[in-house]
Amino acid sequence: MSVDVGDPSVKRENIVPSPRERFTRVLSVLGSLQGYIGLILIVGFGILSKGDIFWNGINLTNAIGAFSSRGILAVGETLVILIAGIDLSVGSILGFCSMTAALLLTTRDMNPALIVLISMLVGAFFGFCNGAATSWLRIQSFVVTLAMLSIARGLDRELSNNVSVGTQVVLANGHLAPNSESFQLLGTPGHNLFNLQIPFIGQVGIYYPVLAFLIVCIIFQFILSRTRFGRHIYAIGGNETAARLSGVNVMLIKIAVFMLAGMLAGFAGPIDAAYSASADPLAGQSFELDAIAAAVIGGASLSGGKGTIIGTLVGALILTLLDNVLGLNAVSDNWQLVIKGLIVVVAVVLQRPGILTTTFAYVRSIIAKIRPERGGDKEV
């Protein structure tokens, strides 16, 4: 059926997307296929080498839980990468917010829920500074966030006086203070929110960091794919000038994106403090590298406009399960670093559009060259 695009009487809403179109739309949300192949390979390797030591609820929860704060950073980082920027300060902001959380708990005996909220506000403030400098002052995001990395780290160390702050406040009677007790639910190992029975895996404790990470991924994927804000983010990343000329408020959206990245770093701060039952003035150092690696492995392109949160989730899972499998197999830390770097490169190369078809075509041409010779031999 031919549609005359210029005819106002034709209503576009009447056209129902075909099942194939729907399928393609969903598929695009899931990110690249290559990520899933990588994940399956790693899980397969884990099961083959360690069996049910690897594939059980506790180990998987531990592995994903340990990476959760970095995973949440990766979600914020993906948003920034989508608008063709980069945020190097998320690790330092996480460190600052983790220290803020511990200090609020120990000095003001605050409720953990309130602590998380304040932490998010503090993170959003840092994010606002990043966004404002990038957008209003027109400084490149790399430079701004590099400076903020240093500033936030310095403030963190000053705030803590270079001493780590424990989060387990013990009362005179030997028991933990009630707010300290509930703070543990934010991620201290062994403190699950509740327990579930999952088929094929067994008994699994629902650990707050894992839950928080998954929910953050779902919410932000929804924002990216179903809201106008998300569409605008892709537009800015794809072609900023065109987006601006089309009426997208580029400046405001850039600031908003950096604020979201900062807010997510603030959200992850208390999780980091709870995991170690203390906040370290050096917490979060080089977390931004893991966040960027997760986003890139998941298919985000550093030149902007390409990537999904679900892809980042897959990237995060790949990084943490790889760490876990290599750790269980007692591979030395040095080689783990090498392997991690190689994975990032391989993942990026495999993300190139049409890489699979090009490879097959190349392989086919080699086979074609060999075959006629074989045929020739047989004839003789």
């Binding site: 270079n162 001493v163 190992p189 062994g190 995991y275 203390s278 830390d333």
Partner: protein, 331 residues
Amino acid sequence: MKKLLLRTLTCGLFLSVLIALTSCGQGPATSSGSGNSGGGSKTFVVGYSQSNNAEPYRAQLNLQLQHYIQQYPDLKLLPITDAHQDSTTQVSQVQNFISQHVDVLIVSPNEPDPLTAPVQQACAQHIPVIILDRTVNTDCYTAFIGGDNVLIGEKAGEAAAKLLPNGGNVVELRGILSDQPQIDRDKGFRQGIASNPNIKIIADREAKWLKPNATTVMQQWLSQYPKIDLVYAENDPMALGAYLAATAAGRANQMKFIGTDGLAIPDGGIRAVQQGQLAATFVYPTGAKEAADYAEKIVHQQHVEHKLVLGTVAVTPDNAADLYNQYHLGG
């Protein structure tokens, strides 16, 4: 023609300012270096180059040094410089102290090789040097004050042997592999447990001195080894991280934890022994008090030991409370 004139004048002005600055730069420095607070007695200036303020141990060292130097009214401590674990930065910071002609120079070198040359420069300028905690590859300094990490590791090993009279499985959490303290503590520990061949180190991993890394590593070990009797960590944060992981798995009461450092801070090892989380830890002395004493002796031309090796104190449940009060700064 005018442009040329303008350019020549600017160059000339620039050069004369440069010359003025460099010649002036030497003047005030020499006069402040010899110490002249208004009034009668002479104050001596002490400069301290710290390798990394961020480490809690070093932050405590700084606090303690400031505290003990304050008790000598004729010593003045310049702001402690922080090299952020970068040897190049520390070299220029030490050279800065040398050009300020401090009366005593205290250095905690980040690494021995890069810091050897500036220390020798200080010696050549007849500035007394105290090397604190880590070594350099020269002997020209006035005094070396430091702990003995091999001894600390050995004592930890002996404590482990006492806790496991019938032998057992030990897992070891190590600091950054290339750090000298790590190498020494590991060597000492293995010597210490050698007395009982039934004590076996079944696994050791690098946790880079960090608590969350230790938690993750311990979680993996707990899922693989059904029998772990003792956890030895080369610093307290790693020991406490392992304790967290063991508590989560419900196996903390099946094993003992030994740490190292023994800082008297609320989040430190002495408190942890008091609360029963660690079986023992060993105080890694900062040497701050000794450094302050030596600085005072040096400026008054008194004799000091060329090499002062500080011992360690074993922190056990019996003495933990007392030791905390003794070492806790504030008093």
